[in-house]
């Protein structure tokens, strides 16, 4: 595959072409206000719908008797997520557990797109659909990972306000951990702490998958006979990364929301 598309382009062109999004216009800035990443939106939505369809099918035909294969599979995932939530989150799980499940499955499916041969869908898009560029791994796009982490960020505040109240949250933000006398330091520390959460969540996932995709692109530049061993090795390693990154994203989400949901006032008075 690489030979065909690589023949017309230099390696640098090949790589940079692979890292270009299918966009609504040609704004090339690092942060764009007007450029839609159509490929990311398309693939992430399709993958999300696959997840929802499969799980909804299982939910419609669900039985408390002997489960079928699909139900069995879905139950394993749901119990796994539910147990992860149960382990750290105290309180009503009717929102956070489905939230964590959606994150896990969606991110997992995003990451799985990295296992599709790098040139397959872009070539199809270029020659059949006439698309100038196509990136198929949503989690290798910051837009997708930040969308998730900012949603998590929003719910961190949601749970904080819910458990501590706006005043309690403000107090904690201003007076913790050094006390009222060192108020500016408290603000700096807490701001960094709060900002670090969505940043690290989004960038960890993005970095891993972006790097993974890049390595696949570089392997695709090798002559065909030299691709097999490194391609296979990276692929096998990537199966681990795909699952692990989805799991890490979900677990950290649960941990952050659990921390936000805990009321520190009680501990303070002891």
């Amino acid at each position: 595959m690489s030979a065909e598309s690589g023949a017309a382009k230099t390696p640098a062109e090949y790589v940079s072409h692979h890292l270009m999004h299918l966009t609504s216009n040609h704004d090339a800035g690092f942060v764009t206000m007007s450029n839609w990443h159509i490929d990311t939106l398309f693939f992430s939505t399709v993958l999300g719908l696959i997840f929802l369809t499969a799980f909804r099918m299982a939910a419609v035909r669900v039985t408390s008797g002997v489960p079928g294969k699909l139900q069995n599979f879905v139950e394993v995932i749901i119990e796994f997520v539910d147990n992860s939530v149960k382990d750290s989150f105290r309180g009503d799980r009717s929102f956070i557990a489905p939230f964590a499940l959606t994150i896990f499955c969606w991110v997992f499916l995003w990451n799985c797109m990295d296992l599709v041969p790098v040139d397959l869908l872009p070539l199809f898009g270029e020659h059949v659909l006439g698309l100038h560029a196509l990136r198929v791994v949503p989690s290798a796009d910051m837009s997708a990972t930040f969308a998730l982490s900012l949603s998590v960020f929003f719910f961190i505040f949601w749970y904080s306000f819910k458990s501590k109240g706006v005043v309690g949250f403000g107090k904690e933000f201003l007076f913790h951990p050094f006390g009222p006398k060192l108020l500016p330091f408290n603000i700096i520390l807490n701001t960094v702490e709060y900002l670090a959460k969505p940043l690290s969540l989004a960038l960890r996932l993005f970095g891993n998958l972006y790097a993974g995709e890049l390595i696949f692109i570089l392997i695709a530049l090798l002559p065909w006979w030299a691709q097999v061993i490194p391609g296979m090795g990276w692929m096998i390693f990537h199966i681990l990364v795909v699952t692990l990154q989805a799991f890490i994203f979900m677990t950290l989400t649960i941990v952050y929301l659990s921390m936000a949901n805990e009321n520190h006032d009680d501990a303070e008075h002891h």
Partner: protein, 157 residues
């Protein structure tokens, strides 16, 4: 490498819709089924345990019933044996009494017949003695005149 703000917002909206869908239509039915199954398994295990206990109790009470039936049967047999022995004894006693009675009756008959024979013999001997005496006296004795004498004589013989 580019972060697209509209894409982020779009993704967040999609994500929100997905989470809402999962929360409404995926999570509750499946966790409900899981809880139900858990309950059914727990109930089943409890029922099995109860059944086993009931079985144990039933076999125990069965043993007891068997034992008491056996004792009862033994009692009945013993009572029957005793009754049979009693009946045999009774029959024997009855038979002994009957025998004694028959023997006594026979004896009485014999005595009676003997007396009768003696009486008739005495009478005949008296008559014979009278006939002999009349022959010896050679004269006819007036039976009417001497009936008293004759009867007296017969009684004496």
């Amino acid at each position: 490498m580019q972060a697209s703000i509209p894409s982020i917002v779009g993704q967040m909206i999609v994500f929100a819709i997905f989470v809402w869908f999962t929360m409404k239509f995926v999570w509750p039915p499946i966790t409900k089924a899981l809880d139900e199954r858990q309950k059914r398994i727990a109930d089943g295990l409890a029922a099995a345990e109860k059944g086993q206990k009931a079985l144990l109790e039933a076999s125990k009470s069965g043993d007891e019933t068997l034992k008491s039936a056996r004792t009862q049967a033994q009692d009945i047999v013993a009572a029957a044996n005793k009754q049979a022995t009693q009946m045999v004894e009774q029959a024997r006693a009855d038979a002994e009494a009957e025998k004694a009675r028959i023997v006594a009756a026979g004896h009485a008959e014999v005595v009676r017949e003997l007396t009768q024979a003696k009486d008739s013999l005495r009478k005949q001997v008296g008559e014979l003695a009278i006939a002999g005496a009349s022959k010896i006296l050679k004269r006819e004795i007036n039976a009417g005149a001497h009936a008293e004498l004759l009867t007296d004589l017969a009684a004496k013989v």
